[in-house]
């Protein structure tokens, strides 16, 4: 009978710093937030109210109206990313990995650069570009005779959110591009050669050979996009303010949370309702991630060479 392996203490020792830091700055605050949402304020005193705050958030027509509006906007924001950012990212990566493309390194860098810019800069720059008064968008459209297509996009209820989503797509398309690019490069040459011997080349090679092989990477990108989009706040706050105008057309859960938690202008902050919204956001993201992990990730096939 083999001897029992000695307990490997060094594993604990090496894990400890990360576990401690993560617990202190992530898990404890998270539990604090969940806890905060179960209290309320009555006459200056903090009192236990149970799920009362959640009842208000989902039951009171004004609160729930704002919540569903924000959630709907979030969903649309995410949808635009899924429909544009990721396919365009994959397309760019496919083009970049083509051996016949010249200056691939230049394109790769140029497309990736916006990703490293701060939200604040991106927000302000695009606000300036699209400004009907000083912006270059109207004059550029004018130069090609399309001035009539210009509208104050960030100021119109029907366009504002889509415009912001497109700005965000412009900024972050580099991330899926790089991840997919890396995945494409990791496909062994033998596989490609075998495909070519079988006469599968060009687009059909991409669809039948490469795409199935990069599906796990696409899955990871989708879930990153989902988490990022449902936590979004900065771009909207910078370009539209905490009231997410026009008429709450760009209000997402992040701005709704900020407004409620910290207060805005004369509105006093309400940490308890704010924590309630934060908990709801956490729940939504958790649910999304779980669906992904159990329904999609487990079914993705992995190939080993």
């Amino acid at each position: 009978m083999a001897e029992r392996k000695p307990f490997r203490w060094h594993v604990l020792v090496f894990l400890a710093p990360a576990v401690l830091v993560y617990t202190a700055i992530m898990i404890v605050p998270l539990i604090g937030t969940l806890n905060l949402s179960l209290y309320g304020r009555a006459g200056g005193e903090r009192v236990w109210v149970g799920l009362q705050n959640f009842a208000t958030l989902f039951g009171d027509p004004r609160w729930s109206g704002a919540f569903w509006n924000a959630l709907g906007n979030n969903a649309w924001f995410f949808l635009v990313h899924m429909l544009l950012q990721n396919p365009v990212g994959i397309l760019l990566a496919a083009l970049l990995s083509s051996p016949r493309l010249r200056m691939a390194a230049f394109y790769r860098t140029a497309i990736f650069i916006p990703t490293i810019l701060s939200f604040v800069i991106v927000g302000f720059v695009w606000k300036l570009i699209l400004s009907p008064i000083w912006g270059i968008a109207p004059s550029m459209l004018d130069a090609v005779g399309l001035r009539s297509l210009f509208a104050p996009w960030l100021g119109r209820e029907e366009y504002a959110l889509t415009t912001l989503a497109l700005i965000s797509v412009w900024q972050f398309v580099g991330i899926p591009m790089m991840l997919i690019y890396a995945a494409l490069l990791s496909i062994p040459d033998e596989v490609i050669e075998a495909a070519e011997i079988d006469g599968i080349t060009g687009w059909s090679q991409f669809w039948t050979i490469k795409l199935p092989l990069i599906l796990p990477a696409i899955g990871i990108i989708s879930i990153l996009t989902f988490v990022g989009n449902f936590n979004a706040f900065d771009l909207i706050y910078v370009s539209q303010g905490a009231l997410a105008g026009p008429n709450f057309a760009t209000d997402i859960l992040g701005t709704f949370l900020y407004r409620t938690f910290f207060g805005f202008q004369l509105q006093l902050g309400d940490p308890h309702m704010g924590a309630t919204i934060a908990t709801a956001m956490f729940g939504i993201i958790l649910l999304g991630v779980c669906i992904y992990l159990f329904a999609i990730q487990t079914r993705l096939r992995r190939y080993q060479f």
Partner: protein
């Protein structure tokens, strides 16, 4: 465990803090002012603080402003965390009252300089019963319209007195086509509410009388006097610049100061900002909100806007009180009103002002009935809060997203949901 840790951290911070200030100067006390007026940084550093420090050796003052829109959030977090400055710039009414009720602002009722202020001046920084005052009033701002006098002369136009004259004027500027009739946008929303609704509104709801009736529950926002200003705002749409939906507050300021727009719906705080930017390129004039018919009483929004209070947790309460007493003095009033033309002193002592445009604004106090912004006292205490709702509503009626009647009904509905005035 947490308590000991917290105490240890506190003690550590306190000691290092003391060590640092000890190194800087033997017994100098440094006071920090929290404020949202980041535009005024230079004025505080170059004029106001040196004047105080010269008269009071041993007390140093630092002005540490935050961006206006973030101020309340930042200040509340700092106060809760115990890291806020010694002196707190007070927003009028509930935002400050809440801080006082939480024990974060000290009671200043017995400050000698308080005698220099009238009841009205103090009302924005008192408890509802008026028993305790917690901030020293600094200034009020008046709403009206600033216009490009040079452009008016060029087009042969006169400032209007009645609403009809006002629209005739706008129509004439629009027809001429050289200037955008009015510089205002709806992108920031507050511009439409503060410079639009609160500017022309008092004329329709009858100033203080309407405002008090609304608080008492005798009038509602769906009454004629409260809907009519929204209807007027909706009429403004035709006279705003192209793409006004995406025009921000700085855009409007620039349109006017660059001489591209003829009229600017204003708050008097713009006077100090516009002067240096225009640099004599054209002359400015101002007219009060127009009245319905010739000879009607005019109403202006003379809004108690800014005051200074004492952080109750401040370790240098005595020095801070000395500073606050000075802020309440006629000397400060003169200094401040001239350094920042357009911020009108609330001090009972008469203040000489040099700026002609500021004099024009303040002269309306003699002919018109003053009131304050309708949403500031009590009505923005709950959620949804009437001030922020009014921002959206004002912008919506201008862009046409809501009819004035619908907007008014929505505002009243929101107010009804949490505010039940005692009948």
């Amino acid at each position: 465990m947490t308590r000991t840790l917290r105490m240890a951290l506190l003690a550590g911070t306190a000691m290092s803090g003391m060590a640092m200030s000890g190194m800087a100067a033997a017994q100098d006390v440094t006071l920090t002012i929290e404020s949202w007026r980041n535009d005024d940084l230079m004025i505080w550093q170059q004029q106001i603080i040196p004047a105080f420090e010269a008269a009071h050796p041993g007390i140093r003052v630092t002005f540490a402003p935050t961006a206006p829109a973030e101020y309340n959030a930042v200040l509340n977090s700092k106060l809760d965390a115990g890291s806020a400055g010694n002196l707190i710039t007070c927003r009028p009414f509930d935002a400050s009252l809440e801080l006082f009720n939480k024990g974060q602002l000290a009671d200043l009722t017995d400050l000698p300089a308080m005698e220099n202020f009238s009841d009205v001046a103090r009302s924005a920084w008192q408890t509802d019963d008026g028993a305790a005052t917690f901030c020293v009033p600094m200034a009020s701002v008046i709403h009206g319209f600033i216009y490009n006098r040079t452009a008016f002369e060029e087009l042969g136009l006169e400032p209007p007195r009645t609403t009809d004259e006002f629209y005739a004027l706008l129509e004439a500027i629009k027809e001429d086509g050289t200037y955008i009739p009015m510089a205002m946008g709806t992108a920031d929303q507050w511009e439409a509410a503060t410079m639009g609704y609160q500017n022309i509104g008092p004329t329709y709801w009858g100033g203080e009388e309407g405002r008090r009736a609304l608080i008492a529950g005798e009038q509602s926002l769906t009454d004629e006097g409260w809907v009519e200003p929204l209807r007027q705002l909706a009429r403004w749409r035709d006279y705003l610049g192209e793409g006004f939906e995406a025009q921000t507050y700085p855009d409007s300021q620039n349109l006017f100061t660059l001489g591209r727009a003829a009229i600017y719906p204003a708050g008097s705080w713009e006077i100090g900002v516009f002067g240096p930017q225009i640099e004599g390129a054209f002359e400015m004039g101002a007219f009060p909100p127009p009245v319905a018919a010739e000879g009607d009483t005019c109403f202006i929004s003379d809004h108690t806007d800014i005051a200074l209070g004492l952080n109750a947790a401040s370790p240098h309460a005595d020095a801070a009180r000395t500073f606050l007493d000075w802020v309440g003095s006629p000397e400060f009033a003169t200094l401040y009103a001239n350094a920042l033309p357009g911020f009108f002193s609330l001090n009972s002592a008469p203040v000489e002002m040099e700026d002609p445009l500021a004099q024009e604004f303040v002269s309306w106090r003699e002919t018109c009935e003053p009131t304050i912004r309708s949403t500031y006292q009590i009505l923005s205490r709950g959620t949804p809060n009437l001030e922020n709702e009014t921002w959206t509503a004002s912008a919506n009626v201008i862009t046409g997203a809501e009819t004035p009647e619908d907007a008014a009904a929505r505002l009243q509905q929101g107010l009804d949901s949490w505010y039940q005035p005692q009948e």
